[in-house]
Symmetry: C2
DNA sequence: GTTTAATTTAATCAATTGATTAAATTAAAC
DNA sequence: GTTTAATTTAATCAATTGATTAAATTAAAC
């Protein structure tokens, strides 16, 4: 019943993660998943009842992953400048390790926005109130410019995620291979960090 | 043979644009398109030979649209600061009018990166050399900081496109309707413009 | 070792999907 | 007005797809 490490159920889940992230829900057939998992295709329905249910379990897991790193950092007892810097760095590393994740989340939410709430209790998971309070304090301090938390988060997300979202276009346009793309991404991350920190923080404090 | 405005061929093409942009290639059936166009489903194959070919013609058109505005501005005889500002504004207006365009291009290129070249002759269409030269001059002037054209373009694209790419997530997270989202988007555009211009341009010149 | 439950397989379904065919209709050419 | 070509339709295919079923096998309980 346990020791799932290599059980059929686990192999199916792993395969589903891989295939759904590559091809999306519509581009994936249940036979794709069964083949990737190396199991009989009826097993998928035995364990997960339907393609839709299997997908949901994958999507839920990935949406959690998408947010999980942020939340820890939100509550870290560190200064605002360091926190912003950490959030950027954290996202960068996550998408570097999971190059399909961003496309997957963005596309599946675009196709069916309601998945957002069926997959996550946002209020519980992303408790932005702590960060929000810290931002307010920093603004009152004069450390940070007058700005809404929504814009701050969007600035960070846009500049990091988009590097990976449009990876294929970048590589085609500028004739890059994986290696030079990685260099480019690292370089861009540095620029983004500098630009955002410069913009948000008043120059008096360093 | 002509007067295509309301011909079946044209209705199919229009319907294909609408449905493909909403649902993507994998999420669309030929019957969806026929139904949307209000024509017999065999007509699609009569005019376009196959779903793949119809899709290609849509994708090609949309990729051109994606780049078309940029190119004009690249070659405008205006200063660097105004040009950057115009490019940002132009992208913003395009994606505001075509909220699915960004998702469509990003997703279909992610699924099949080679479509990029089958759909566009990049060297011809995006002649970035003019902008590239202007940037070099501006850097030598001391007007602009030392930076690569690739990073400049990516900064602009990221910050504008991503607003619309993650529209559904934004609306869910912050409980926005279409109206307040539009306000938010406008506000964010202003911030992005200011941030990017501040970052790229040395403060001596105004 | 027998019984019972859990897991796996092969065979098969009905529905959907992209595509084709042949006939019917409409428009154009002369 | 007849001939010819272009357009449209209804009917139908074969292949694919998500799912189910019933039988076979394996593991667990006693």
């Amino acid at each position: 019943m346990n020791c799932l490490t290599n059980s059929a159920e686990n192999k199916i889940k792993e395969a589903a993660i891989k295939v759904f992230l590559e091809k999306g829900f519509d581009g994936t057939t249940t036979r794709d998943i069964a083949k990737e998992a190396g199991v009989n295709s009826a097993l998928m329905n035995y364990y997960f009842r339907s393609k839709e249910k299997l997908f949901s379990s994958v999507f839920e897991e990935k949406l959690q992953q998408y947010f999980s790193g942020m939340i820890e950092i939100f509550n870290k007892p560190i200064g605002m400048k360091e926190k912003i810097s950490d959030l950027i760095e954290n996202d960068f590393q996550m998408f570097k390790k999971n190059p399909d994740l961003s496309n997957f989340i963005i596309h599946e939410l675009h196709r069916n926005p309601d998945r957002f709430f069926s997959a996550i209790a946002f209020d519980k998971i992303v408790d932005h109130s702590s960060l929000s309070k810290q931002l307010t304090t920093s603004i009152e301090n004069g450390e940070v410019i007058q700005i809404d938390i929504k814009n701050v988060l969007l600035l960070m997300k846009s500049n990091i995620q988009f590097i990976f979202l449009c990876k294929s276009m970048t590589c085609k346009m500028w004739k890059m291979e994986d290696e030079s793309f990685e260099e480019f991404a690292e370089k861009h991350k540095t620029i983004v960090k500098e630009m955002i920190l410069n913009y948000l923080f008043n120059s008096s404090k360093n």
